[in-house]
Assembly symmetry: D2
């Protein structure tokens, strides 16, 4: 099987400024996910962070990325316009995108969804149970009836997203809320996955089921036919039509 080239992007602020977070993720959230995915078959992993030049997401990096994983929280507004544009174009051209937890409010996710992506939340550290609605789906390969997390931030409905193409998991919280916790969309030639768990103060990305879902999602969202996106499915608008033409866009 061909290798899937994964780039894990993290804003990497909490881990450098909050000792409690650093204790959980000494190598950063990106480092923890990279270690887990790097040990899986068929995945080649690199990382990038906000502080890197061009946030580590140059044209060259994106051209060599099959699936991009995104974690951000307090610095969404620091992500440059040019990088948001570039990532959007890459997704529409076929690159996979796996958005984690608070990345629901990232500029790139809101750009691709067209909505606010807001939700109800509570930093309670309560238990979460995620129900598997689609045991037939590759993103849930190896996952049983439900995933149990001992502690997680509560995210609740309504989640202001366009209806997903596929709803794969629903989360349950003891405080009384529910959430569409694992969803997929297609935009242009690219596939997008949103996975809800992963608040920085909980060891969620050390949980083997969460690691497995992220790894599965990276394989699933990778381009299925490389280079297959036609001009009309990429991010380049056609020229203004100020004169008659008989050609294609």
């Amino acid at each position: 099987m061909e290798q899937v080239r994964v780039t894990i992007w993290n804003e990497h602020i909490h881990e450098r400024t909050e000792p409690a977070v650093a204790a959980i993720y000494p190598d950063g959230i990106h480092g923890a996910i990279a270690a887990a995915l790097g040990a899986m078959d068929g995945l080649e992993v690199r990382t990038a962070t906000l502080a890197d030049p061009e946030h580590g997401l140059t044209d060259a990096v994106l051209a060599a990325t099959d699936t991009l994983v995104w974690w951000g929280h307090v610095a969404h507004d620091q992500v440059a316009d040019a990088v948001v544009d570039r990532v959007q174009a890459a997704v529409l051209g076929g690159m996979g995108l796996v958005v984690l937890h608070s990345g629901h409010e990232s500029r790139i996710f809101r750009r691709l969804m067209g909505t606010t992506c807001s939700l109800r939340w509570r930093e309670s550290g309560e238990h979460e149970r995620l129900w598997n609605l689609r045991p037939d789906h590759p993103v849930l390969a190896g996952i049983g009836d439900a995933v149990e997390l001992a502690e997680e931030e509560m995210y609740g409905e309504p989640f202001a997203i366009p209806d997903p193409d596929e709803l794969l998991m629903i989360g349950w919280f003891p405080g009384g809320e529910v959430f569409r916790s694992l969803c997929t969309w297609t935009r242009g030639a690219g596939r997008i996955v949103y996975l809800q768990p992963g608040h920085e103060t909980h060891p969620t990305y050390h949980h083997p089921d969460i690691q497995r879902i992220i790894g599965n999602a990276c394989r699933w969202a990778a381009p299925r036919i490389r280079g297959a996106a036609p001009t009309s499915l990429n991010a380049q608008p056609r020229e203004p039509r100020t004169a008659p033409s008989t050609g294609d866009a």
Copy 2:
């Protein structure tokens, strides 16, 4: 029945600069549509154009608009950021949006779709037949098996949109192309309709079936429950979460 308050927006450039277009639409495309819709039951119609202050789309106008109709072509880039933001917020808060023809590349449509919305095209003036896939749907009330247009610009697939919630019509062109010509989406609390016909050099908006579809679409996309959108479904992002909280977004 409550009145539906419609605002028809037009960039209004072709009609002022091209005699051939002015001959077809002496009162502008917006004027032609306004005259047709104004004669229909249950619709209150106003118009706005690019040259108006704030393009005629102030907060006050949008607050008094149930459905906004949009026609633009050569001046998409002249629509101000603030107006695009404001219209997006209004749609997510429940206002209907009916995007016509070359409006597929407008900033507001691409903003709400998250894709390029590009397509294949040819200014051939050929015949178009639009097939009715959903005679049960209110947007197609009063429309038969098909709508025939004697001349129209060809728009062809692939059309780079997210899969529509509903595909209502498919267009057929004698040159050999097909197009998803009438589609709907829900974004936040708002409903969006795209209708393909309407090149400025053809008398499309004088055709009674096209007028009827636009009028139907304005009624259908109008908010069904005024003021019902919760905070989490409108365009306001919640506050940055830099400190623990126990409250809702």
Copy 3:
């Protein structure tokens, strides 16, 4: 506004054989729902039960029904083939169908879905909270953030249905389960709603929010364009094509 003609169908067995159920629904589940809907504006209500000739669902009754409500549980297999065929044809021709609770395993619902419609369940009488995902939707007009039921049977995922066109509510149970509790589909010219609460041993159909949702659903699922379904969208298969033809189906 035109009246919506509602027929409420109930198998009506528990209420006649179990005193505990009869105490809650002395006039039958159909009677309780009919009383509630009959007091709402714009609804004309009649009832029908399994024991009636042709189960009360003759051609004449269906022809005079805009939306059919269905409650069944222990006698799904006693519903005659001819009646299932007739109801399916009516739905495909435009009649609305609102399936309640254990009706998920009714012959008509499984016929229209094409799947088993099975689910996870537990007769625990625990609390249920139903979250409103779509405050903009007519079926949820007048409903707040959530509906609280003091006691209800637990229904849990995975629910073996085709992905709904719209997911309107998700149910939460204290035992740890979640459920897609309010869903819609379109089949042919007809609209179908499934609403999960309503076990016979609980007073669910006396709850004003549940009554309101059922009433809203009856209005929403009613045909929007009477008589608009073409031959090709109704339940009659075309003739076998054993000879060349130039006509339409």
Copy 4:
């Protein structure tokens, strides 16, 4: 890569009774498709026909089938109830199903769709052009902008199907019609593909693009996680709930 085990089912009547059809398909439509798919990497092919005992679709055959291809036309009603039930259960349990051309009115396709699956048609032998809407999709791997068939029966909208999960191709006919020619659905754990071309009097299944699409569809619809379907997603209804229970369905 694991082999995909394909069973090609054909009613096999036209080829035995009509010399014109036999001249095109001397080994039957199933034979032509089997020869094409058998030459492709990763596919193991067998065939079955109506005249075989149990139509060749025994429990053992279905248990050893990853994807079933279906062609039928004049003998849909001769397919036994038990076989329709068995194939439906297999699909809901994860088996892929690729329905060809006039199979749109087969009992199994209508059973899984819940609608009439009727359409508009004309045996004209005219040209067909099928547009590729999703060059990123595995079912269209190796297929260009469009597929051209020199002669084919016209199938036109409205096609009375539930909205497909994915619309992959739209067909164009010179007589003025359009058709949703390549669609996918998920039902239970199974994936279903419908492909429109293939009237028995035209050499459609000898066309390399059509062969390629069928082969791609067989790979794509094959179970992605063998044996992963839980009880609640298979075709077995749970027991009637005449007594309280605390167990799962």
